[in-house]
Symmetry: C2
Subunit: 209 residues, 2 copies
């Protein structure tokens, strides 16, 4: 019930990206499958990154969500096993994207989002400081992109940061149409290992697409 | 008082790196200066990275400490302001190093530690999974290193991951002598802006030292 309430709030208030993070945290910590279909995009990416790491292809991790500590209990000498207990804390809005790491010596950085929207990807899903971060790391020579899954179409696209910025600079709409992803984005193949082979597209980016 | 106890525990049990993290978190969250001399190495690095970001030289961040959530309270509709409240959580041991980011398109990754020891840097300060992580990202073409501050000498050294691995492979000691840092490491200059100009040494690493 709790989870459905958060989902509802998240739908009603899509600008509040922290709810999404909290939800992800909750699911990932308690290992609950939402409606029996796993965690969706986040789980697929985590599994793919695990596969890349095992094969020593790339080392890309999801960053932990930042937390603001308010009350912390330190264990007594007798009770060291449980460790330090956090008794009051709040989620903070991340100042960077969720994923980063190394591939072929290059710096890789991206944000990943799902949308239930059929015709477009609402831009409220991406925080302004995440857009700035993508711009900064791209200008610094890093490889930046978005990974967006359209849940209705069951399709996942990689959109290069530069194509993302081009859209933001030329369009005033508060969402990116699905057709823009079809035209400018790269559909990510799904398989068993890895679930989402997004580095295949990064290879092309390194090659100069 | 609490803080001194943790410090003491940390000294008595240097293998337990989580205490150090907790301490850092505590200080960084509450912005308390320990004995009026700031947070030491961590604060110096954060300020240096802030400087590099402002000048758009490099985008390198400290990763948040991972937290294991146990109990979370969701706000009622009437009380949305406070947000989701974490009521029980514990610090987790990080599986990667603390700092990573991009400089000149290259992936940068390092761990930073202080030691009160005058003659050597105890290896218990670095977790085995952090060593493995440094090895992995180095093999994947990333630029990896340690930054170690000797508090007695008031000197901070950058030690390339390859020189760190060389030591581990040839020596059986449980610490790296100060003299090894003098011989193989690179002393990081201290100034006002940035406080620790470690990228000057990374420049040399890119150049092939």
């Amino acid at each position: 019930m709790e989870k459905q309430n958060i989902l509802k709030r998240n739908q009603n208030n899509p600008t509040n990206g922290t709810y999404k993070n909290e939800l992800h945290q909750l699911f990932s910590q308690k290992k609950i499958n939402y409606k029996g279909r796993g965690m969706g995009l986040e789980e697929d990416l985590n599994k793919s990154n695990e596969f890349y790491r095992q094969k020593k292809i790339a080392f890309i991790y999801k960053k932990p969500t930042p937390i603001k500590l308010v009350k912390v209990d330190y264990p007594s000498r007798q009770n060291k096993i449980t460790g330090v207990k956090i008794k009051e804390a709040y989620f903070e809005s991340p100042s960077t994207t969720d994923y980063n790491g190394v591939y072929q010596g290059k710096y890789i950085d991206f944000e990943a989002k799902e949308t239930k929207n059929k015709t477009s990807f609402p831009l409220e899903n991406i925080h302004i400081h995440q857009i700035n971060h993508l711009r900064n790391i791209t200008e610094c020579g890093g490889i930046g992109f978005l990974i967006v899954r359209f849940l209705v179409q069951k399709e996942t696209y990689l959109l290069k940061a530069t194509d993302f910025f081009n859209y933001l600079e030329t369009e005033s709409r508060k969402s990116i149409p699905y057709s823009y992803f079809q035209e400018k984005g790269y559909k990510i193949e799904e398989s068993m290992f890895p679930r989402l082979d997004y580095l295949k597209i990064v290879d092309k980016m390194i090659g100069g697409i």
